[in-house]
């Protein structure tokens, strides 16, 4: 199993019996899960499985029908969480008619983060060479990194990242995953969604989603072991065939369910 120095640390995110409809169609139907603190948790599933809805609910911008979500011990969307939880939407949410630096400088003021954070996050996301260009003139991958850089401002404790590596070249993707691991090593909790199954191997734990429910909540070796496969894509198919989810939450967090 994973190294788990402080199993006593309370989970970063606890979702219980969450029901959400979007445009009257149920997307999440009684979803419950926990995200342990200080881990990189991969949220994987096909498009339309409810990943974005779950993430929006966790950051408190989604209208929720019923159920509860606690983030860092507070109800999701609490004012106190707005500087502690960062959210990166799937589509880069930056101002195209501002430079990279102007974008970050504005978001920094919103968060009340120190001014030195701007250069730090530009360097971390490898945007130094384009820092004074308009965001609208950048490539899709670069714009996505500006969006990610904005989320790193003010050293948030929980990062909710919706498909942050889509469309990136493999070298950059590896660099970003290194960055995610450094953030987690510094104590941050990351919930990272992807529909690319082989990104799963870079996560500490996996949440596999399909049709608004959980297929698996386990470590990567755990999922592979439970399904007798050696890649996550096949494991996903096996779990669907089997019709029984592989739910083995991290010890010490299952009590929260």
């Amino acid at each position: 199993m994973m190294n788990n120095p402080d199993a006593a640390a309370p989970p970063a995110i606890v979702v219980s019996d969450l029901h959400v409809r979007r445009v009257r169609i149920p997307v999440l139907n009684g979803l419950s899960l926990t995200v342990p603190s200080g881990r990189i948790v991969g949220l994987l599933g096909p498009s339309g499985s409810g990943k974005t809805t779950l993430m929006r609910s966790i950051v408190g911008v989604q209208v929720v029908d019923s159920g509860s979500i606690e983030v860092l011990g507070l109800p999701a969307g609490s004012p106190a969480l707005r500087t502690r939880v960062a959210y990166v939407t799937q589509q880069a949410s930056v101002y195209d008619d501002l430079t990279v630096r102007q974008n970050l400088s504005y978001f920094r003021r919103m968060l009340g983060a120190p001014a030195s954070d701007i250069d730090a996050v530009i360097a971390r996301t490898d945007l130094t060479s384009v820092a004074d260009r308009l965001a609208g003139s950048l490539s899709g991958g670069q714009r996505g990194r500006v969006s990610l850089a904005a989320a790193l401002l003010g050293a948030p404790e929980v990062l909710v990242l919706d498909e942050p590596t889509v469309g990136l070249d493999p070298v950059l993707r590896v660099e970003l995953w290194d960055l995610f691991h450094r953030l987690a090593a510094d104590g941050a909790t990351l919930l990272v969604s992807s529909h690319v199954m082989d990104e799963a191997k870079r996560c500490d734990r996996l949440l596999l989603m399909r049709d608004g429910g959980l297929l698996a909540d386990d470590t990567v070796p755990g999922v592979l072991d439970a399904t007798g496969t050696d890649d996550v894509e096949t494991a996903f198919l096996r779990l669907i065939e089997r019709g029984q989810p592989d739910l083995r939450p991290e010890p010490g967090t299952e009590a929260a369910r």
């Binding site: 409809r21 209208v63 929720v64 969307g77 959210y87 939407t89 308009l134």
Partner: protein, 244 residues
């Protein structure tokens, strides 16, 4: 509410516009060009001296309404509004930040429009030019405030563009330009008495003819200001952090 975040938002909106020189040009010049067109149309008549002041109310109002409502809608569509609402920015900070930014632009736009109407088109003003300027600015601000309110309701670009006829055209039709308000059927006269543009046009006409004293004009202006404040407050209350 947090003034630092409000002003940061104002500054951000202004730097966005600064990167778009053509928008600045259109924003500053279009109302004046339209006023010039009206003046030219009626060169051989004395109509412009009657409706000229109302044109100062009309064109900045419409332009500011359109620009503001689309700017805030763009924020919603680009996902930046969702990002901001996951941050500590208050709804009031957001709306007021936009109102201040576009209010600032309205000052320049109106100054150009008033100067153009008076010195180029020869609009005769009996009363104080400063008062005329102040009313015209309030009127452009009214366009901004109603634009913010409309965009708080709108979900798509299509809806925003439809809100222009809904929010603006009745005010233009019933404001006293086409027919003096006291000649309207009783029901419409009552409605006209509720619409802010009617008050702005009354005030501008009064300054132009010099018929009324400053106190009378101030009461009219007060109604316009109340509408501005009301729209901004209602706009911030209507915005939702959580969306379906």
């Amino acid at each position: 509410m947090n003034l630092a975040r409000t002003f940061a938002t104002t500054g951000r909106v202004l730097s966005q516009i600064r990167h778009d020189p053509r928008t600045i040009g259109l924003l500053l010049v279009v109302p004046s060009l339209l006023i010039g067109l009206v003046a030219w149309m009626f060169t051989d008549t004395d109509v412009f001296s009657t409706i000229g002041p109302a044109m100062l109310a009309l064109f900045p109002f419409i332009v500011m309404f359109l620009v503001t409502s689309i700017a805030t809608l763009r924020e919603r569509r680009s996902g930046t509004l969702e990002r901001l609402f996951s941050m500590p920015l208050g709804k009031g900070d957001f709306i007021l930040g936009y109102a201040l930014a576009f209010g600032f632009l309205a000052i320049f736009q109106t100054a150009i429009a008033v100067s153009f109407a008076v010195w180029v088109c020869g609009l005769e003003i009996e009363g104080s030019l400063w008062l005329l300027f102040a009313i015209a600015i309030c009127d452009a601000l009214l366009g901004t405030a109603l634009g913010l309110l409309a965009s708080a309701f709108a979900r798509t670009e299509f809806q925003v563009v439809q809100f222009l006829p809904v929010f603006v055209f009745p005010q233009v039709l019933l404001g006293g330009i086409f027919l003096p308000t006291d000649q309207l059927p009783a029901g419409l006269e009552a409605i006209s008495g509720w619409l802010p543009l009617t008050y702005a046009i009354d005030a501008l006409n009064a300054v132009a003819t010099g018929d009324e004293d400053a106190e009378w004009i101030a009461t009219k202006l007060l109604v316009v200001v109340a509408w501005i404040v009301g729209s901004i407050v209602l706009g911030s209350v209507t915005l939702r952090r959580r969306t379906p």
